[in-house]
Amino acid sequence: MNSDIPNNDKIKVRLFAILRERVGESEITITVPTGTTVSLLHDEILKKYPLLKSFNNKFVISVNCKVTTGNIIITSRDEIALLPPVSGG
C-alpha cells in the first residue's frame, strides 16, 4: 500500500425529523479521511448536502447517543446522527 494515499472511512449518518424529510433519506454516507473529527465531518456533510446549510446551527451531531462537538475523532464503527431541535412531550 502506498503510504502517501490516505485511507478513507465511510461514515453512516442518521437523519431525523425535518432533516430526514428535506434530504429524503433516513441515513446518508459520508466519505472522510480516516481519523477525521466531528467538525470535519460536519463540513463534509454540508459540502455533499448544501441544502442543509440553511439548517446550520439548527442541528447538533451525536456520536454513540452523546451530543458532541469539535475535535472528537470518529470512525465508521461509531453511530452518528444529526439532531434538529427537539419537541417531544
Binding site: F16, C65, P85, V86, S87, G88
Partner: protein
C-alpha cells in the same frame, strides 16, 4: 420504567405499574394532543424518536429523579407515530410515601423529557404540516 411505544397509552396499565403498598401518593401527568398548535389548527401530531438515544436519555432522567426524591416507583411512556387530537402522547407517573416527592419528581421528569430527549413532533392539519421548532440539544 421508561418506554417509547407506537401503542395507545393506558392509564390503567400505568396505575398497575405504580402499585406499591408503601406509597401513600401517586402523581400522574398526562400530555394530550390539542386542536391548536403553533401553526394554527391541528388535527393530529406525528411524533418521531431516535429511540435508542431517547431511551438512554429517559433512563438518565429517571435515575436523576430517583436520586433527588424518595420515589417508590416511576413510569414514563412516550407514544410515537400519528396521534389524533384528544389522544395521549405521554404519561408520567410517580409514586412515593408522601405527596411532595411524587409531585416534584413528576414535574422534573416531564420538564426534562421535553428539553433533553430526541423526540420531534410535526403538527398536521387539513391545510398544512409543520415540524415544531423546539430546543437544540446541548
Amino acid at each position: 420504567m421508561i418506554s417509547i411505544t407506537n401503542n395507545h397509552l393506558s392509564l390503567q396499565e400505568i396505575m398497575h405499574e405504580l402499585e406499591d403498598n408503601s406509597a401513600g401518593a401517586i402523581s400522574i401527568f398526562i400530555g394530550n394532543v390539542r386542536n391548536q398548535g403553533r401553526s394554527g389548527n391541528v388535527s393530529e401530531i406525528y411524533y418521531e424518536a431516535y429511540i435508542k438515544m431517547a431511551e438512554e436519555k429517559m433512563n438518565e432522567i429517571e435515575n436523576e429523579a430517583q436520586t433527588k426524591w424518595a420515589i417508590k416507583k416511576l413510569v414514563a411512556i412516550h407514544r410515537i407515530g400519528n396521534i389524533s387530537v384528544g389522544e395521549t402522547s405521554i404519561m408520567i407517573g410517580v409514586s412515593s410515601e408522601h405527596r411532595k416527592d411524587a409531585f416534584e419528581a413528576c414535574k422534573y421528569v416531564i420538564d426534562n423529557v421535553k428539553t433533553r430527549v430526541p423526540i420531534w413532533k410535526k403538527e398536521i392539519s387539513d391545510e398544512n404540516q409543520k415540524w415544531v421548532d423546539g430546543i437544540l440539544l446541548g
